[in-house]
Subunit: 101 residues, 3 copies
Amino acid sequence: MNTVPLKKVTIISEAVLEPEILRMVKELGARGYTTVQARGEGSRGVRASEWEGHNVMVEVLVDAATADRILGHVAEHYFEHYAVVAYLTDVRVVRGGKYTA
Amino acid sequence: MNTVPLKKVTIISEAVLEPEILRMVKELGARGYTTVQARGEGSRGVRASEWEGHNVMVEVLVDAATADRILGHVAEHYFEHYAVVAYLTDVRVVRGGKYTA
Amino acid sequence: MNTVPLKKVTIISEAVLEPEILRMVKELGARGYTTVQARGEGSRGVRASEWEGHNVMVEVLVDAATADRILGHVAEHYFEHYAVVAYLTDVRVVRGGKYTA
């Protein structure tokens, strides 16, 4: 089966950030997204404040350059003020050519 | 910890396709599955129609040959008529021997 | 974008095990977790009993040593009595230094 190597970017945040994250990933080049309701707990953010509650997990399939732009934006704009987790996974996507810019 | 390298196949589709996908992955050799409710948006399918709504994410842990059969089936039967995303991730599974044919 | 290679440990189990799993991953070194509601079916466990129902998917981002301890605990304490799936995925995490012991 012919597949294309891409990056899956996963961003987990407080649910209130979801609209902002979806707008951002599309502006930075993602052609689509999947969101899943989640719960979580962690010590994250500048003051390492403890938090627990309703979260959202946003996943996008993008090329490496787009993944880098998205993670850079997350690090620069969200980490200081919000509880956010962001990571990359290598995946191989069927008809992956549709996901690149 | 002893783990076995396997493929995780993730299929994201409109929720209406879930029963068909679950039947298919079992017929093609998956020993189990996990499903998660999701939402999404994307430009996919022959007419690149925009869609947004209730989706399902189906995940199965299988050997490489089974993963290939499942992705081949998805590409051949679903991509033309449905909004579907399908991709592979390399994983290492505890007691992974149970998942192979 | 600067990222740190970590392991994502995914544990899928019957929902009744969730509090026990969350306590265990924190005791073994995870700094946080994400949980997602799931459904599933599989033949797992000592009697290969068939099961279908409400599950929980727990994900933690940890270093390789912590991942190994968590998977070892799952294999030793849960597999005999519960329907549990556990696997590792390699990921690259933004500000990943926060997740290590």
